[in-house]
């Protein structure tokens, strides 16, 4: 440690190593959080239900999405990305997932929300299979940490059905 520059360099590199260890500990501390999120979705109205000229079905819905995702937030959470998907089965595909709405929750204060909206993204099928179709609405979320690994989970809400004829 025989010169100013040598000591400065040693301090700088060691301080960064300690910082990396602190961030790793912060990431591990997230595992002690046991979240208990809740959510509810209602389809208030089927605005229209048509077959497009190219042959694919399209639906427009008005939804009421409410959720309490506060327990997902820890001191190491940067934001939570949440999105709503319609899931159903067709003869061609075992699972179809169509994203209807998404949003970013920047902090715990915004994690209790209720939103009354038309679907943000178009609900279009690959083909013409939606008449009388039973589908689930699943709320997915991705918890993005400040340091460490992203985690994701979901709540599945069943019991939704599309009309048998076009409107």
């Amino acid at each position: 440690m025989h010169s100013f520059a040598y000591r400065a360099n040693a301090l700088l590199t060691f301080s960064l190593t300690v910082l990396a260890l602190m961030c790793a500990m912060a990431s591990v501390s997230d595992n002690f959080n046991s979240p208990s999120p809740t959510s509810q979705v209602q389809v208030l109205n089927i605005n229209w239900f048509q077959k497009k000229p190219d042959g694919d079905d399209e639906v427009s819905l008005t939804l009421n999405i409410s959720a309490n995702l506060q327990s997902l937030f820890t001191w190491n959470t940067k934001q939570v990305f949440v999105f709503l998907e319609a899931e159903y089965e067709t003869p061609k595909n075992a699972l179809n997932q169509v994203s209807l709405w998404d949003g970013i929750i920047p902090s715990k204060e915004y994690a209790i929300f209720g939103i009354h909206t038309a679907n943000k993204y178009r609900f279009i099928d690959q083909g013409s299979n939606l008449r009388g179709k039973d589908f689930n609405l699943t709320l997915h979320w991705h918890v993005m940490p400040k340091t460490g690994k992203m985690s994701a989970d979901k709540i599945v809400m069943t019991g939704f059905k599309l009309p048998d004829v076009y409107r």
């Binding site: 000591r7 301080s15 300690v18 260890l21 400040k146």
Partner: protein, 92 residues
Amino acid sequence: MDWQGQKLSEQLMQIMLVAFGIIGFITGYALGSFQTMLYVYAAGVVITSLITIPDWPFFNRHPLNWLDASEVEKHPKPQNTNATSKKKASKK
């Protein structure tokens, strides 16, 4: 800095940085603020660098006894003039 001082400086630097890391983590975790942890740690890094990098007097408590100038003249360094001049001649 003398040798003991260098050792002290290195030990102090490592211990202080680890200590501020732990203090920062506990403070941030208790307050639920990642930013607090980073600020406490950054302050710790600055304090540590102010104590361990400059050549403070307390790092010089065990100075080395270099040979006095008057002693050097009494004990001249042995000279090998014949051997060195022979080597130079052969290189030419």
